[in-house]
Symmetry: C2
Subunit: 345 residues, 2 copies
């Protein structure tokens, strides 16, 4: 007993004009197509009166535009991604687009499945936080002339728009901050994956190690961690075997969380003496004890820049405009965890 929605045809019939005329008026082409003011007004009034809304599906089918964007992240339940999603949502809606979010779990197979899936649905554009091995898939999207912007990480040999941060510099600032606060031997905990963001962070660390002349102590957890449990075990071993480190830079939010758990449970005294910095802020880091110093990515700015690039692509579908790599600056949110020991209560 589905009530049939009113269509443009019904309107045309009711007003004794043609479907074409109604369509022209609705699309704001009344002037251009020389529809008289009188008819234009009649149509507009009636449409408002019955609160007619065009069928988007039919529009999309005809025009080839779905007004849907896809935002593909590692895991939408991770704060860094969900926060970005929240911003994208607003930006897109303002322009009349909706955003479909999906999680690729940083897995190539899943990523490719998802891209294919949405591609079949003729979405109008992709914002992708790519897993390590989907360079070719991305390239094939480009070849089909489908707008794509990469976020957070990119591929060295792909000419494509990208927005992210200057990871190396961010890392350097973080480590330098530790050094400035009298920590002598900062270590670095990250994931062993060949992705630009992680490589940049690692390089930044190594640079300062060499500049400041301390021995680099790196822990790179396996890319395909089986469980949090396994992660914690590896971290515990690292702390056991490196009693001399006096500070740590965690390269992601998730690692920080694991690390803090291990410290809290197995090395409670260390938790209060270690210098700790994390990439990516989270509201709760300010209420930990000690509160955790964080390298903050400029989420709003990143989202805005990304959308800007994407909409440029959507507009000039033809011209493969020169691609742009945006590396934005981070800010250091300084909290208790990097106070030099003498300053701590």
């Amino acid at each position: 007993m589905k009530k049939k929605r009113i269509s443009i045809k019904d309107i045309a019939k009711h007003l004794n004009v043609s479907v074409t005329t109604v369509s022209f008026v609705l699309n704001g082409k009344a002037k251009e197509k020389r529809i008289s003011e009188e008819v234009t007004k009649r149509i507009l009034d009636y449409v408002k009166k019955i609160n007619y809304k065009p069928n988007q599906l039919a529009q999309s089918l005809r025009t080839g535009e779905s007004k849907i964007l896809v935002f593909m992240v590692e895991d939408i339940s991770n704060y860094f991604f969900s926060k970005l999603a929240r911003i994208f949502e607003d930006l897109a809606y303002d322009k009349g687009y909706k955003v479909l979010f999906c999680s690729n779990e940083n897995d190539d197979k899943k990523s490719i499945e998802l891209i294919d899936l949405f591609n079949e649905r003729q979405v109008d554009g992709f914002i992708i936080i790519p897993s390590a091995g989907i360079e070719n898939k991305i390239k094939s999207l480009q070849e089909q002339n489908i707008p794509v912007v990469l976020l957070d990480r990119y591929f060295e040999d792909l000419e494509i728009d990208y927005v992210g941060i200057d990871n190396q510099k961010a890392s350097e600032q973080g480590i330098q901050h530790l050094i400035d606060n009298k920590f002598k031997s900062p270590s670095f905990v990250s994931i062993d994956v060949q992705q630009t963001q992680m490589l940049g962070r690692l390089e930044g660390y190594r640079n300062i190690a060499s500049n400041e002349n301390f021995e680099a102590k790196e822990l790179l957890l396996p890319y395909d961690l089986k469980s949090n449990e396994q992660g914690r075990a590896i971290l515990k071993e690292f702390f056991d075997q490196n009693q001399d480190i006096d500070s740590i830079l965690f390269a992601t939010n998730y690692l920080t969380q694991l690390g803090l758990e291990v410290l809290k449970n197995h090395f409670p005294e260390k938790l209060h003496n270690l210098g700790i910095i994390t990439f990516d802020d989270n509201a709760l880091f300010s209420i930990c004890t000690p509160s955790i110093t964080a390298i903050c990515q400029p989420l709003d700015q990143m989202a805005e820049k990304t959308m800007e690039l994407l909409f440029e692509l959507i507009k000039n579908k033809k011209s493969t405009s020169k691609y742009s790599h945006q590396k934005l600056d981070t800010t250091l949110e300084i909290r208790e965890s990097t106070l030099s020991l003498s300053e701590r209560s």
Copy 2:
């Protein structure tokens, strides 16, 4: 220079059969429609060879099904919601549906706009975490025979499917746990809003207060908090004026966060002596000091149940099957913040 996608018509032409035949075969109706095995095989083989994928828009236009669901939450960047979203995502994809997420900011106007927006797009179903005043809009969706399931909260006089927790019981368990651990005077911090989930939590608190004979101390923050700053100020005042409370149940994640900030900054000694429980867990609560006891909602179970109800509605669009109110059980994740004082280190 857009490459034209291959259509069913191209296939038909190439194989010298009719479009109808191809369509039947692709829809698995070969047997039913008596298409010969030979033709069926030829079509299937060719389709696989050229990797043809039907145009979903056209399918949707014709069938009236978009295979898109909407999940409307308060704020997708909030962990409770984004975690649910992550689960829904997988469940839906398994059934061939995509999920559009949107954030209503618990605001009626925004909620209604969003619902209208998606309704025009003929989505196949809604999962809604409703703001307080959209009862009528929800009802109108029902009247249009559009599948809707409410989550987290519901409306007393609306006959509609709903999934959530037993808020009253959860609250009672939390407070009882405080009492059992020798806290004499638990207080309750919540939001002043007429929504079932909040009312239930409040009622649970009051019940135990009356059973255990302690004076109820409630702080209900305004529904339309201007800023975190304002929230912190109100909380600080509450703590200042109620020095005698020895424990708190925070009714949401967000309030817990604000509360902990205030405690950490203004009442550091209290932070370690107060009994603290929060509704809704977050990975980081286990690494706070003290780690925070949490009332955990069974997210997986909630998501599954919700999908189950929604798909039932989608299937039997006609029969207004009897609606179901699912109130699931929570679990208490006991951590340091509710150890009785004698047990604390």
